[in-house]
Amino acid sequence: MTLSAANLSRLEGILGPGQVRSDSATLVSYAVEGAIPSAVAQPANAAAVSETVRFAAAEKLALIPCGGRTKLCMGMPPRRYDLALDLTHLSRIVYYDPGDLTVSAEAGMPLADLDSALAAHGQFLPLGPPFSARATVGGAIASGVDSPLRQFYGTARDFVIGAEFVTGTGAPAKSGGRVVKNVAGYDLHKLLIGSLGTLAVITGVNFKTFPLPPQRRTFVAHFADDQGALVLRRLIGASRLSPSTLEILSPEAARLLASTKDAGAQSDPRAWFHAEDWTLCAGFESSPEVCERYARELGRLAEEAQAAGGHLLQEKDSLALQAAIGRAAPIFLLASPAAVIFKVGLLPGKFSAVFAGLREIADRASLPSALLARGSGTVYFAFLPAGLDGQTVARLSRVAGAVFDLAAAQDGHAMIPWCPLEMKRLVNIWGPARPDFALMRSLKETFDPHVILSPGRFVGGL
């Protein structure tokens, strides 16, 4: 459906002059997996978002909320897409009580801006999504991405304490609150995390913030094979240490990450990421006394795991390494014109079997691959074919079924956050249907009865 001229001017009447755009250059820049909207609305505040959604609901116009537009390619292609709802004008901090370690930010606020506001008070959010240079608060929440820091801080569901949003009828609603502990009412904001804009348009998010640690260090250990890295992971898991990050990289992943430059780094990243080795990176952050203890003990455990080598990165290199790992997905995507990245959720005890299974799948299909595993149990596995042609896409699609099966057989699950659009015509990136889908569908109907919010992008065509 395209927006009629009459509708365009009605929308402009609601939002004000200049807040609705429909020139083709603009529209193309809001494309979602091949679908191009007929208009872009840029509401100035939450009330205007609500008005816009109400208008869209009345006119049965499908809309997709967006911020920095860095992760719009996630999800299945939308079934319909009439209106891009650009939230970047909602970019304020609504409330910040540094003494309470709580902050409330509008959805379109760039995370980088929020980070600097928090840093001014010695605080931060452990959100660190990929593409963070342009990512917004709302997008980071709606896309459900994680960061290496989840090892210690958990994911958004652990530190989002409330949200304001607009449902598919245009009703402004909220859940949670601004305090760190709250059990009043249903935690609807948890449903919005990772929902890709299919339940509601997030207009504001309330967070618990964290004090910036006095020192950040990373211990890097190298191994000839994955088994050594897994032994070290297990040893760390069974120790008293609680590192802030714990990542395992395959040699291919290390090689790709080594090729990125970081202005802040003191050393060449090839010093930490060896292209021939499996790498385990354990980040830790605390006072100097505690960091010393970590360095000492990690060194001892690495020796016990028979690491080929290990070294300690000081503050600047540590941050550069963590940033590189945080950017792994974009780096993998650049490495191949047809990169497919799987996200596999697992218990860490299943790593060994799953690593082997994934490599076997890649070898059988003669596809180059790279693996990055978070110690808490998430594996990112990228297939990196040299070209994007019909045959490759068909091969990747067959491989997808094998990965879904492998994850399920190991009590986990897999989905595909990033892959070529061509592949989505053959594969449902969300994997096979699960028994709790019926409940998800009724929630979708509850939040979005007219099916206008990002229709089709989510699990099971929601």
Binding site: G99, G185, L191, L347, D436, L439, V459
Partner: protein, 477 residues
């Protein structure tokens, strides 16, 4: 109650699994709150399949269905407000699986909170949520209420420790949501269900995370001559980014009552004490304890004592966790409130609470999770005097309203239940509540499961519902 329903329930769980005589029902009309609600019959299932059959049966007879664990809840969540079948999970109390390497356990809802920790302690693990009732409360109840406890300051509430659930919908359908992995595929149904106070589904199996026991623990008791000094200390500890594992406060009246009962060593002439605990690597604990001592001294703490061994530490905690029993000895009844405020508002709020107490003519005791701004003002009253009870409820209402006014919330860990549903409009608009109502409808059509909880039926009058009560049992927070 229809005797045919009782016969059919007996067919499902056996004669010994059903109670329906008045003298039995009376035992289940209370929980730890000041509320009351008598079921028409009580059933004790052993398996998920039985729960499913019970749910279907209750549907066929169109009677309410309410889940219950140990009944230690503090907001009436496990009371059969509109009668019906009360499903008590005490016989579903098995730990089904322990996976220490991956730090997971799968338990039935009737497993007692502390029993899980006892079962994994030898492996160096524990189940982190630790409500004061942890010796008796069940994990199913913890999940329903999203329970907290003193150590949630560092570890988070129950929701942060649950990855998957098996549930029975009101129509008897058995489903699994989430799983053992920390990652969620699709909408986070587990996150929605934890804390839904038994209004969306009956939970029949729970997958929880187990946390590693700390290497070192230091417990400090900071003693103050003025309440303001103690609250200002909490403000400064928070603002400086020091993260103790627990930070509990007892005011002067409370610590004296506790001291008489528990002999924990609280100085009877002080105005307030903070019970602070730091955990982690021994190096970290040393640094943090020193930082905390420094803040306490700057705020004119009269004395700071550090527990020298496990026995001294346990004694201090006994004073904290046994406080409600102690208060029960000196007051015919009490009304324990649960509110949260931004921690920066702690000093002014405690002054306000004491002013409200004076104005309404009540002693209000304060013993609470200061570190996360979770207040528990306790209004002491005589329930035999209906006028006094009405007054206590009015005072409670003012305290709750103040919490909301300063940016806080109505409950940090006890739940809304049937106690505060009428206050929900203070926090949420009619649109917010309507959305919650429709979410409930998606799981629990017609609200036959645990009716009359969380969301006010009508517009909500903004007052706590007052009802005459007899002496409620001593509860724990």
């Amino acid at each position: 109650m229809d005797t045919r329903l009782i016969r059919e329930l007996e067919r499902i769980v056996g004669k010994e699994g059903v109670l329906s005589r008045t003298e039995d029902l009376i035992l289940y009309e209370y929980d730890g709150s000041v509320e009351q609600g008598r079921p028409d019959c009580i059933v004790f299932p052993r398996t998920t399949a039985e729960v499913s059959r019970i749910a279907r049966l209750a549907g066929r007879f169109n009677v309410p269905l309410v889940g219950r664990g140990a009944g230690t809840g503090l907001s009436g969540g496990a009371l059969a407000r509109q009668g019906g079948v009360l499903v008590v999970f005490s016989r579903m109390n098995r730990i089904l699986e322990l996976d220490c390497e991956n730090q997971r356990a799968v338990v039935q809802p009737g497993v007692v909170n502390l029993d899980l920790t006892r079962a994994v302690e030898r492996a160096g693990l524990h189940f982190a949520p630790d409500p004061s009732s942890q010796k008796s409360c069940t994990i199913g109840g913890n999940v329903a209420e999203n329970a907290g406890g003193p150590h949630t300051l560092a570890y988070g509430v129950t929701a942060n420790h649950v990855t998957g659930l098996e549930l029975v919908l009101p129509d008897g359908e058995i489903l699994r949501v989430g799983g053992k992995t920390a990652d969620v595929l699709g909408y986070d149904l587990t996150g929605l269900l934890v804390g839904s106070e038994g209004t969306l589904a009956l939970i029949t199996e729970i997958t929880v995370k187990l946390s590693r026991l700390p290497e070192d623990v230091k417990t400090l008791l900071a003693i103050f001559d003025a309440v303001d000094q103690a609250t200002e200390t909490v403000v400064e500890i928070t603002a400086r980014g020091i993260t103790p594992a627990a930070c509990e406060m007892l005011d002067g009246w409370t610590l004296r009552v506790v001291e008489d009962f528990v002999h924990a060593g609280f100085p009877r002439d002080s105005a307030a004490v903070l019970l602070l605990e730091v955990e982690g690597l021994s190096e970290a604990v040393t640094v943090q304890a020193a930082a905390i001592e420094d803040v306490c001294r700057r705020n004119r703490a009269r004395e700071i004592r550090m527990a020298r061994d496990a026995r001294e530490r346990e004694l201090l905690w006994k004073g904290r966790k046994g406080a409600f029993g102690a208060i029960g000895r000196v007051s015919p009844s009490y009304y324990a409130l649960d509110g949260v405020i931004p921690r920066t508002r702690l000093p002014q709020t405690l002054r306000r609470v004491s002013e409200i107490g004076r104005r309404f003519g009540f002693q209000i005791a304060n013993i609470f999770h200061a570190g996360d701004g979770n207040l528990h003002p306790i209004i002491l009253f005589d329930p035999r005097d209906p006028e006094q009870f009405q007054r206590a409820v009015a005072a409670a209402g003012e305290i709750m309203k103040h919490c909301v006014e300063v940016g806080g919330t109505l409950t940090g860990e006890h739940g809304i239940g049937m106690e505060k549903d009428q206050l929900m409009p203070l926090l949420f608009s009619e649109t917010d509540l309507d959305l919650m109502r429709r979410v409930r409808e998606a799981f629990n059509p017609g609200s036959r499961l645990n009716p009359g909880k969380i969301i006010p039926a009508g517009k909500g009058c903004g007052e706590i519902r007052a009802r005459p009560v007899s002496n409620p049992p001593a509860s724990t927070i």
